[in-house]
Symmetry: C2
Subunit: 233 residues, 2 copies
Amino acid sequence: MKPIVINQAWNGAEKCQLCPIRDLVLFADLKQDDFHLLHLPINEFELEAGAILYEQKDKIDFVYTIRSGLVKLVRYLPNGSYRIIRLLRQGDLAGIEALNGSAYLHHAIAIQNTSVCRIPVKNVEYLNNKTGHLYTQLTARWQKVQSDADIWLADLTMGSSKYRVAKLLLYLANDEVDEAFFLPTREDIGALLAITPETASRIIAEFKRAGLLTTKKNVAKINDSTLELIQSL
Amino acid sequence: MKPIVINQAWNGAEKCQLCPIRDLVLFADLKQDDFHLLHLPINEFELEAGAILYEQKDKIDFVYTIRSGLVKLVRYLPNGSYRIIRLLRQGDLAGIEALNGSAYLHHAIAIQNTSVCRIPVKNVEYLNNKTGHLYTQLTARWQKVQSDADIWLADLTMGSSKYRVAKLLLYLANDEVDEAFFLPTREDIGALLAITPETASRIIAEFKRAGLLTTKKNVAKINDSTLELIQSL
DNA sequence: CGGATCGTTGACAGGTATCAATGCTGGTGG
DNA sequence: CCACCAGCATTGATACCTGTCAACGATCCG
């Protein structure tokens, strides 16, 4: 089993204000005084690839800000296979559904080395009662869940397998050409796109042969021919 | 073009309190005094099948509570076809993304006769500033968007076409056997499940021949054999 | 070195898209 | 009133795509 390493724990007032990615995260709009309202400790974790962040049955006391890395939200199916519902990246909030007291809707599993901040739900509730400064960011995050889900449905669940794989590569590469990005296993690509790992492998291999994609272990780059490919379906 | 009929307009304090489906809608938790905070009029509309509730480019001044009927959220594709991202039913809130000032993410089109209440975003913002009574319902609705999207992804975008159509029928029938429900056109079923209208038609016709489904115009019923079918894939 | 895991590739069957033709139904206008 | 038309549903023939089952290669690790 992949270990989870706890880097540090602190009271919010001390370090969250200095967070280098604070403008990306939930606390972006907080004022200096607000940080004194964070009574419960916020911990930073390092997850290795394969580590479980939370499971559907877990107690729902925390939400997690992704500082870096990549987390998959997974739903297991009766037949033992699984479907990846969404991917979370830097600045995303994992377990946001915990904020209204419902159970986690998925399992959250790191698929590459990932760093997260674990935020007690009670901190968020308390802040929300005492200041209005959290509301905008919270709503923005809920909306991002919706727009991510919509993009998923519109881009990654329709059309041919080749089209979907190409779209996924663009998504993983943040639409940037010649930038290195993490390429998931063929099984995960299959679970992301609702295709079999074999089909995923065939298409990735074909892209590599065609020079659209270069890989080195888990790291891949696309070039701008990939963009053209998608136009042609 | 299908007409939109405005039934009535009123100030919230007068009628929203008496709304027969109030426990289902956004204002479920409001107290008597809160209704006096609704300054802008709330209108009730009747939409005929095919009528457009809003379009992606529209000004985003309103959200809409679905009182009855069925609304599809649609994204058009470059090639002129479309994909249905989600269906909204009684109690759902259409255009919720308007609440944080972003543009509508889809087109919203009635697919059967539908009744909605049009609520100015400013009313919601004002209520939200003055009372905390709206917050729970708002969060619950955001979360419903997420869980609906997840169900969509897990149930309606994977597996064989036959499986997906069966799942959709169950969804449309609210998992209830022998209850009449609205059956969309084959084109809409295709856009819902990412299959072609021909495939949708073939499967529906096959279900009818097998006695799993009975139809009369747009109205259909399933029986409990349909449930068993899904188990068998 | 051997075993485990993952990726690649092949052969084949079955499913789905595509293109095309034909029914069916409701509405419109002569 | 009836004929026609438009839109939708159904069905057929065919080609292509993808899933399935299976074998083999590559890499990592103990």
